[in-house]
């Protein structure tokens, strides 16, 4: 079963008097274990697509299914549950809570899980260890470098053991060593833990490591192709408007 399926999903925004189509009848699927990059020029709909996958936004038309369940059938509470149990999200600007330490930031999503404070702490420590930041646990975001902050963000995304991690331009704010280090970390998690990654990027450093590239152009899926390191299925739902590689 596909983890996420888009069936003719369209998203329109109204900017003043003008209606903008950010995504146009996109058909798309993510399977467990995918390491997918969504790429395309600025304004092509990458972030919109990630938001829709992460149920942070709702489509204007079409249907999105997560683990086979139509998202449109879920109420607010169920959507909150879905986000907390299914997804981990990494943002371009890290988006850590500035008043919390690295450890507390990582523990934050676990507040939605009925586990003890001690277990939260243990799991957060483990997540931080996985991203190599054990000794920075008590540091606040403003005391960390950009790369370290993004690793904290990865740890926060990992800590709930989600089925799917969404990352919006995760390396855009990082220097090359940090970016490469992050890419390696993500790849390692994908390979060893079978964590599914979907991220938007036009960073070639990252694109070299992905197993599948989905290309968007003017809101339409222009290409969906496996790359050399592809380990996942490459099935794509048929679309009359999409070019499938």
């Amino acid at each position: 079963m596909n983890l996420v399926e888009f069936e003719s999903v369209t998203k329109r925004y109204r900017l003043g008097e003008v209606e903008v189509t950010a995504l146009d009848a996109v058909n798309f699927a993510v399977r467990r274990g995918d390491f997918v990059a969504i790429t395309g020029p600025s304004g092509s709909g990458k972030t919109t697509m990630l938001n829709l996958i992460g149920c942070l936004d709702s489509p204007s038309s079409g249907e999105i299914r997560v683990s086979g369940r139509p998202v449109s059938s879920l109420d607010d509470h169920a959507l909150d549950q879905l986000r907390s149990r299914t997804y981990g999200i990494i943002f371009q600007n890290f988006n850590l809570v500035p008043v919390l330490t690295a450890l507390e930031n990582v523990m934050l999503p676990l507040h939605l899980h009925k586990i003890s404070q001690e277990e939260r702490r243990m799991r957060a420590c483990a997540a931080l260890a996985a991203v190599g930041l054990t000794r920075f646990a008590d540091f606040r975001p403003d005391q960390l470098s950009g790369g370290q902050r993004q690793r904290v963000a990865v740890a926060r995304a990992l800590v709930t053991e989600p089925k799917l991690i969404l990352a919006d331009e995760p390396t855009a704010s990082l220097d090359t060593p940090s970016a490469l280090s992050l890419v390696e970390l993500m790849k390692e998690l994908n390979t060893e833990r079978r964590v599914t990654f979907v991220f938007s990027t036009h960073d070639q450093r990252l694109l070299q490591h992905v197993s599948r590239v989905v290309e968007l152009r003017d809101g339409k899926l222009s290409a969906d192709r496996p790359t050399a390191g592809d380990k996942a299925d490459t099935s794509v739902l048929p679309s009359k408007d999409s070019e499938v590689a």
């Binding site: 942070l56 509470h77 986000r83 907390s84 988006n95 809570v97 507040h111 939605l112």
Partner: protein, 658 residues
């Protein structure tokens, strides 16, 4: 989340500080006002309980609190009832002591000055013991004489201490009575409204004025006022078992007793509620604005939390926690400041003038910790709720299109009102002029002894729920002056009422000099003293013709008589004159506000020879209370003869020697 909320307060310290200052200022104001109200409440309660000697619990006859002023005899407690109450109360817990009290009104006179008094007859020993518990300055109890407020003393021309004052009032048998007692000191009622009427006397002295051994009530002191309600209930139940429906037990805050307390506390509570709402609204608005600004500043963070799966409610909860922490910080500041100011005021010893309390009182704001905590808890709860609503709305991020304002009301076109003038020209009727009416009145007065010289015997039988009384007088009348001398019962023999030139005097054995009776005092008794003899409506009232009427089949002229002098007994009278005989058939005596006070019916069964002509003379007069028909007086005129009593009989100088 609490930790995160706490740390978030440091993100914009200026904003947090400004919010804390604003909220703490409001809470400080509320706490100080609360302390002031508690102080006022305590002071007013002390005035009612101690200064005014109401003690904690009072026992009256059923309906006594409402009816005592109008019918003191009927609603007083006799000796057996007093004993029963004392015995029953003493068996209950929290009882300390009980005492009898008598309340009454009358006129006090010193030399030529007189003034109305409101008297309380108390047991000096009880008063002394009761006052020991008062936080207010205690006044000396009345021992061997009268205590008057300084304002009442001023009205009486500042009589010297030790000088004798005359007290005049209506006895419980509805008779005039007077006593003399020395002025021994002054006191304050503590109530501005009655400060110029306050008089305190030993109970037995006041009982002698009202010629009774009854008392108005029994008051009971308890060990603490918090037990008042429970004690009242227990005592009421115990008395009800022994004499069902006989007694009414009240506490010091009963509206009829603690009127000062209830009215002012009602006012203060309203002011406090208003102030509280204003302050709360300001504090809430401040917090809401802070929440709104925080949300606006942290939209990105809210987005992160939403993406992590935090619900809107949870995120709103974070902002609510921040608001609550801010409010608690403000509450701490406000509480500390409030207690500091209270301590400083106590240290300085500030005095304040409380409303309607005569003398300045030491300002001791009272803010028990439980009250402060309660006020803060209420504020926190309200502010939390407000913050929650704001946060949920803001965090939701949905911008709904504002509803188009629909006017609640629409102005309607003004309607024209047509007034039709209907010139009503009633058929003209002959209206007698004033001189004609005065002649009618003079004829009517003649038949009631108002003009000319006569002597007769008058018997008055009075019916009252408190009991019936009979009094006999010898009446002598000469040219508008009258002397009434009591002949029976024996114990009242020697009492005299002199009506001379619109003045009235009362004398009885034992008094040093006659007492001048004011126009108001002439109304004492169902048969007013002014009705006993010498009625001269033609002289004392201005007539107005109201038209012809038929009364019990008798064609009458209906006149309205309005008092022409201050010495007239009544403010106004509706007088019905027989059209043929010109004799008064019925008179309705009105108060200043036009309400009926009494109704009199006249019968003319006597005949006297005047200028060789046999004329009808009043033989019976029945005066009925207009509000309580069971209260009436029957005046019987007998042995009416034309006479020529000496001038000396009508002189105030010789009144005591007659």
């Amino acid at each position: 989340m609490w930790s995160m909320a706490f740390r978030n307060l440091y993100r914009d310290r200026r904003r947090t500080l400004a919010t804390i200052i604003a909220v703490s200022a409001g809470l400080f104001a509320v706490l100080m006002f609360l302390g002031y109200i508690r102080f006022v409440e305590s002071s007013l309660a002390s005035v009612v309980i101690y200064r005014d000697a109401n003690a904690h619990v009072q026992v009256y006859r059923k309906d006594g609190p409402e009816q005592l002023a109008a019918s003191p005899a009927q609603y007083s407690l006799d000796s057996a009832e007093q004993a029963l109450i004392h015995r029953t109360a003493a068996e209950l817990t929290h009882f300390v002591r009980a005492s009898n009290q008598l309340m009454g009104v009358g006129m006090a006179q010193a030399d030529s000055e007189s003034a109305v008094f409101l008297a309380r007859g108390v047991d000096p020993e009880f008063e002394t013991a009761l006052q020991q518990h008062s936080p207010l300055a205690a006044s000396p109890p009345p021992r061997n004489g009268l205590l008057l407020t300084t304002q009442l003393q001023d009205l009486l021309g500042r009589p010297d201490k030790g000088s004798y004052l005359q007290l005049f009032g209506a006895s419980y048998a509805n008779r005039m009575n007077a006593i003399e007692a020395p002025l021994t000191g002054d006191f304050s009622t503590g109530i501005e409204a009655i400060e110029d009427k306050g008089l305190k006397a030993p109970l037995d002295l006041l009982q002698s004025l009202y010629d009774t051994d009854a008392v108005s009530r029994v008051v009971i002191q308890l060990d603490d006022r918090v037990h008042s309600g429970a004690f009242r209930n227990q005592l009421a139940a115990a008395l009800e078992r022994q004499q069902p429906g006989r007694f009414e037990v009240t506490t010091w805050d009963h509206p009829q007793i603690g009127q000062l307390y209830t009215s002012f506390m009602g006012f203060f509570t309203m002011v406090f509620a208003f102030t509280g709402i204003v302050v709360f609204t300001i504090a809430l608005t401040t917090i809401q604005h802070t929440v709104a600004m925080n949300v606006a500043d942290r939209t990105r963070e809210i987005g992160i939390l939403r993406s992590l799966g935090f619900s809107r409610g949870r995120i709103a909860g974070l902002f609510v926690r921040e608001s609550l922490l801010t409010t608690l910080a403000a509450a701490l500041v406000a509480t500390a400041l409030a207690y500091t100011v209270i301590a400083a005021l106590a240290l300085i010893g500030v005095q304040t003038q409380l409303p309607r309390i005569a003398e300045p009182t030491a300002l001791t704001l009272q803010l028990p910790p439980t009250w402060a905590i309660g006020a803060i808890a209420c504020a926190c709860a309200g502010i939390t709720l407000g913050a929650l609503l704001t946060a949920r709305k803001r965090v939701g991020g949905e911008v709904r299109p504002g509803r188009r304002g629909v006017p609640l009301t629409r102005m309607l076109a003004s309607a024209a009102c047509l007034l039709l003038a209907l010139p009503l020209t009633a058929p003209a009727e002959e209206v007698p002029d004033e001189e004609t009416m005065r002649n009618w009145l003079k004829q009517a007065d003649l038949a009631r002894g108002g003009w000319g010289s006569y002597m007769w015997k008058l018997s008055i039988h009075t019916e009252d729920p408190a009991g019936a009384t009979d009094t006999d007088y010898d009446i002598a009348v000469r040219n508008g002056r009258a002397l009434a001398m009591t002949t029976a019962p024996r114990r009242y023999r020697g009492e005299k009422i002199l009506i001379a030139s619109r003045a009235m005097w009362y004398a009885k054995p034992g008094l040093r000099k006659p007492i001048s009776i004011s126009p108001q005092q002439r109304l004492v008794g169902e048969a007013a003293n002014g009705d006993i003899a010498a009625t001269q409506y033609a002289r004392d009232y201005t007539p107005e013709y109201l038209g012809p009427v038929e009364l019990d089949g008798i064609p009458c002229h209906k006149l309205k008589l309005t008092a022409a002098t201050d010495s007239a007994t009544y403010e106004a009278i509706i007088y019905y004159l027989d059209r043929r005989s010109r004799l008064g058939v019925r008179a309705e005596f009105l108060t200043a506000s036009g309400m009926p006070l009494k109704v009199a019916h006249f019968e003319y069964g006597n005949r006297v020879q005047i200028n060789g002509e046999a004329r009808l003379f009043v033989s019976r007069m029945k005066i009925v209370n207009a509000n309580f028909p069971e209260r009436y007086s029957l005046l019987q005129y007998d042995q009416v003869i034309p006479a020529d009593p000496p001038e000396s009989l009508f002189s105030v100088d010789t009144l005591m020697t007659l």
